[in-house]
Symmetry: C2
Subunit: 207 residues, 2 copies
Amino acid sequence: MKRIAESTVRRLSLYLRFLEEFEGRGIATVSSDELAARGGTTSAQVRKDLSFFGSFGKRGLGYSVPELASRLREILGLGKDWRVIIVGAGKIGAALAQYRGFRQRGFHIVAVYDTDPQKIGKKIDGFLVRDLAKLEPDNRSQPADIAVITVPAESAQQVADLTTRAGLRAIMNFAPVQLQVPDTVALKTVNMAMELEGLSFALTNME
Amino acid sequence: MKRIAESTVRRLSLYLRFLEEFEGRGIATVSSDELAARGGTTSAQVRKDLSFFGSFGKRGLGYSVPELASRLREILGLGKDWRVIIVGAGKIGAALAQYRGFRQRGFHIVAVYDTDPQKIGKKIDGFLVRDLAKLEPDNRSQPADIAVITVPAESAQQVADLTTRAGLRAIMNFAPVQLQVPDTVALKTVNMAMELEGLSFALTNME
DNA sequence: TTAACCTTGTGAATCAATTCACAAGACGTC
DNA sequence: GACGTCTTGTGAATTGATTCACAAGGTTAA
């Protein structure tokens, strides 16, 4: 398959959210124009994005809402039950552990890890905090797919190395560092500092 | 000034982080090549990014670390003390309220708001939770610049309208919705669901 | 002062993403 | 079943971002 741009995937995800809203409201069909208006893009963009994966619409009519939603779920791999671990039982880790958005989309948190002996053995939001040293054996018996890293910047690379070695194939990184991972591991970084500086730049350079 | 691409601003922010690390280690000069290697890009990209704002290097030698760092801080508008409010005193709001990265870069949290009577008047991480209804008058007397929105998806747009009306000029949105704001307001959205779906897509489409 | 060596800054070339524009279908109506 | 109206799917054109490639300047050492 042709390489798909990251921006395309983000938009598919956005379209899916709108479709689910329409589904809830019982709307049966939708045009690329309506989807575009909702997502702040153009109808041509919507059609081009979808065209990478097939043709799902009916000329003159638009797209069937439930059908397109189901196709997008399939494309995005949301049929499966992804197994997620959280490494770092601090405030952000705890906030994520109770975030409903995970489960809603088939992302199941199967364990929370930390290295702090004060935290290991305690429960946060119903999750027992486990010793990070146990990650590798744990993952051998009960393999997880995605690691969410919420440790301080200094230890994030070590943790990434560890989860990679343990066989996890994706990382969602909240530490403000650029992680190095082999290209067999999918990586997304959410860097608050960078976003804030983007706002700061915009504020300073707005007329 | 020519419009600067968002990707350029993100990279500047990244370069600054590396420069600060070098500054800490007492390294005096750095070449575009070294900066590029660190940031996973190319030296031409680094030089092009900087060239939008001036020429800061010395041919044959590279860039002075402290000088370039200071120029980048200026470009990104990090000299000023930005005033930040957090709207939504839930788990994510609380996690952000105590996040050290804010203050470190000159972002000062000046207030936390919520609408829940259970929360109003209580303290979280040393911040008194105030009634959102008071935002507009508050902001008239003590204007803030940036609103961090951590309320549920359903009320995020209302809150964005409110902060805009109250005169705040930037929004950092953690609610999983696409906000509509006038283009006098700078907006960044961090959408966990979208990032997760990006990983899910990558995992399903990796050979 | 000269020569050998670096590294910047930047037009030109390439590569990638978005938008345009229109033929091809599908539906509804008379 | 022919006509008018929609809206898709997609090559072609355009716009935007990245990479190439090299002249121009600066540094170091003899």
